[in-house]
């Protein structure tokens, strides 16, 4: 029997979360050290999964299956393919850097890290699950700690509103998808006589065209809400802004990918005919995301809202890639999920560091940060270059195939969507110029303490990943295209 590496990855944060809760509340440093140890452990294991994934064998690997509720065909079934292995790594990275960034949290750090790890465990669980019940189980575990994390440690002005809005949107989406999943479950039972939530079995259920046509939208949109799809994207910038730094990183970096990933895995892969029939609508909605999100980002004055809406725009690219149902588009979507996850984590980390010192995020009030916080300035600029899709950085590697796929599907759409590239460049450059260059307002003199070594490690890790991937896309692209093969196999010849 092989080492159950995926289970260990999923349960490391969950168990740590429980252990942390048993520690004494006043021993704050011990809590932080325990959290960092667990996060490093999970990161190492996820790197290991990424490296040792056998690219020649492809398919699902590191499989584990135990029956959970045999009477109803519920099993604990995990495994990763080329699509999910990078996302597991991404989660490991965000979790590790998130803990580093949150070192300074002083109000009930025990509860903070416990809830954060519950969230992380849920995210890992969704990425590796091959059982539909298990996917929902972990999906909900990933959603509800968000509420507590935002409401307790969030930004005082909007946290109560934003946290509730986020939770209700996401809960609505997940239960919508749940009804679809239950319908699939029973129809599969009628067709094959097997009661199972196993997604590998459900792939072969042979759902009728009409069934897929009816249920694709509830399932896909239910998950895509978490991916920030228009017109259900509104919770996302509010949530980003209200959340504390590490939670914003998790939220934009990983959680939104959770939505896109689950929409792909459950919506597109289990109901491929429905996906083909509805692709036009997803395509249009994603276009709106991309272009409209970029324009809204440009007029924001709060730096965190700029990034929040840039996430909406960038996640639109992921959805757009998925909606093309072409190999290029899907590969780009997979790359973009990883690239955007790292980039946005970096953005939020940088903004958090600035806000901790300046106590404002309003772009007009900031300026000249490059002298006081050079590391942050460099990191933010690199993130900006990624976001603009500059060659040499991971963003280019991801966006280029997406546009190829879009062009193949509908060239006019590619032209329209490319407007966003210009707008994105505009708002990022404006933000970089106003925040980091120019003259620093006098009131910040003496408040700009340098960032800690832990913060530097976090920023460095994220920058390294983005530039590394930009220079050597082959680290990731072949793996993603294996995952894409897995999807195309079900779409049949598309």
């Amino acid at each position: 029997m092989q080492f159950p590496i995926l289970s260990v990855i999923v349960f490391t944060p969950l168990v740590t979360s429980l252990l942390i809760l048993l520690m004494k509340p006043e021993r704050k440093t011990e809590v932080r050290v325990a959290a960092l140890a667990a996060a490093s452990f999970a990161l190492l294991l996820s790197i290991w999964v990424f490296i040792s994934y056998d690219k020649t064998a492809a398919g699902y690997q590191f499989l584990e299956k135990y029956s959970w509720l045999p009477a109803l065909g519920i099993s604990y079934h995990v495994g990763v393919d080329g699509m999910s292995a990078p996302l597991v790594l991404l989660t490991g990275v965000v979790m590790f850097t998130g803990v580093l960034i949150s070192w300074g949290i002083d109000d009930r750090p025990r509860e903070f890290f416990a809830f954060l790890f519950l969230l992380a465990g849920g995210v890992f669980g969704v990425f590796v699950s091959l059982d539909l019940f298990m996917l929902f189980f972990f999906y909900e575990i990933a959603v509800f700690p968000m509420y507590l994390l935002i409401v307790i440690w969030g930004w005082v002005k909007t946290r109560e509103y934003a946290a509730m809005k986020l939770t209700l949107y996401l809960f609505l989406g997940s239960v919508m998808a749940l009804v679809g999943a239950l319908a699939m479950y029973w129809v599969n039972y009628q067709n094959t006589g097997i009661l199972t939530f196993d997604m590998l079995q459900l792939e072969k259920a042979g759902f009728s065209g009409q069934f897929q046509y009816i249920w694709f939208m509830p399932v896909f949109m239910g998950f895509a809400i978490l991916g920030g799809i228009f017109p259900f994207h509104n919770w996302s910038p509010d949530g980003h802004v209200a959340a504390p730094t590490a939670v914003s990183m998790f939220h934009a970096g990983v959680l939104m990918k959770l939505g896109a990933f689950a929409a792909l895995r459950v919506g597109v892969m289990l109901l491929p005919e429905g996906a083909k029939q509805w692709a036009w609508l997803i395509f249009i909605l994603a276009m709106v995301n991309v272009v409209y999100g970029a324009f809204i980002a440009m007029i924001q004055t709060d730096l965190k809202y700029v990034i929040g809406f840039s996430s909406v725009s960038h996640m639109g690219l992921v959805m757009l890639g998925i909606a093309t149902l072409t190999p290029e588009g899907l590969t780009g979507a997979g790359l973009q999920m990883f690239s955007h996850g790292v980039m946005t984590a970096l953005f939020f980390a940088s903004v958090g560091m600035i806000y901790d010192r300046a106590h404002t995020r309003m772009i007009p009030e900031l300026g000249g940060m490059v002298k006081a916080l050079p590391f942050v300035a460099i990191a933010f600029t690199v993130g900006g270059l990624v976001g603009m899709g500059m060659p040499g950085f991971s963003g280019f590697v991801a966006e280029f195939p997406i546009f190829m796929g879009v062009w193949k599907t509908q060239w006019l759409a590619a032209v329209i969507a490319s407007i966003s590239i210009i707008v994105t460049a505009a708002y990022i450059l404006i933000a970089v110029r106003k925040v980091f260059f120019g003259k620093m307002p006098a009131k910040f003199e003496g408040h700009m303490t340098p960032i800690s070594a832990l913060d530097k490690v976090a920023l460095f890790t994220l920058v390294l990943l983005m530039t590394g991937l930009g220079m050597f896309p082959n680290l990731l692209a072949p793996m993603i295209s294996l995952g894409v093969q897995n999807v195309l196999r079900l779409l049949g010849g598309a």
Partner: protein
Amino acid sequence: MNLNLLAILPEALLVLLAVAILILDPLFKADSRRVNLGWLAAGGLTLILLISFLAGQPAQNELTLGGMVRFDWFAFAFKMFFIFAAAITALLMMDVDALANRAEAYVLLLAATIGMNLMAASADLVMLYLAIETTSIPLYVLAGFLTDNDKSTEAGFKYLLFGAMTSAILLYGFSLLFGFAGTTNLAAMAVSLATPTVFSLGALLLVLVGFGFKTSIVPFHFWAPDVYEGASTPIAGFLSTASKAAGFAVLLRFSLTVFPQTGSQWQYTLAVISILTMTIGNLVALAQKNIKRMLAYSSIAHAGYALIGVVAASTLGTASAVFYMMAYILTNLAAFAIVTVAGRVIGSDDLRAYDGLSRRSPYLALAMLVAFLSLAGMPPFGGFVAKLLVFAAGVEKGWIGLVIAGIINSIIGVYYYLTTLKYVYLYRMEGEDEESYPIPVSRPYAIALTVLVAGVILLGTFFAPWYDLTVKAAASLF
């Protein structure tokens, strides 16, 4: 004649325990009476739970004791739930002075438990009616037990009036059914009423009034918030869990035995009632400022979710309803246990009084988190699995509209459960340092809370054995 005394083993033991309490009570010294009585009752109930579980399992379904009770897994499962709930309630009563010093309170609790056990097992209209009254009368007294408290007296009296009225209507319905069917045995009635007429359905509606009162479903729910608010908190917890589950046991057995045909009128009736119950319960709960009233409306809403399983009328539907009751008993008892503990120290049931609870007592706050998230239907807690099962049962039988109503309602539910947690975790006591106002948790409460929280998590993670139990219970009705 079939006389299997094993069928009433738990009830016999409960009677023995009640007698033991009454005999030993005068022997306890005044200063240790509270502790002794409480441990005697709780320990005795736990022992009964164990003995009945090990020795009292039914071998096959049989009608016994003159056709009065049915000895099957359905009755057995519910009996275990009731005895468990009573044991926890006994623990929770220990630090409520007005209850804990009086042996009568424990004896009444045991009497009500006997009644509930018989409710779950009755196979005959006469027995059923007697069991319902045996449950109700001690509960009327317990609800109004705090005689120096106006609210408690009001609660007891209101409960009595409502109960007496609905019980009369129920009895009228029973006599009509007897008239149409010519028998009081439930299974025999099914044969005579195989083709329902307008009149038998009318009688069924009258019966539903009585069951509706016990399960507090709309429109027979008006008593619940006032009674829960006025009664002392452990008793309110018992009313909202065990008593409601007993109502569901009767409803399930009655409807599935007497009207086994699917697609019959009562299914549609119950579907409408289910939607009304969920919606009204949740919407009114949104506006509550008192935690006990909020829990009362939330418990009304939960009856609505469980009804989805009853409406589905399949093995899975029944199993899901039983599972729902199991998860709900654990979760709601935990919620009321927390209100008991916190209420003693805070001296108020106002939601605002829970400000800063997580700083005053982190573990109590965590227990509250678990209980409320489970009520909201989040994993990894029992409430999630329970909700998923009733929804799955609804979708299986094509009640999509009903399931969607359930889903919209759970979203409303999430709102007020999370809002409550906001008081606990976010808000602070006005100008005070919370850490200097800790909330001590005495030993009986610590035991009760640990058991309940562990149970809620266990039901939500390792649910296979529990689900198998509910399937066994459900299968014995088909």
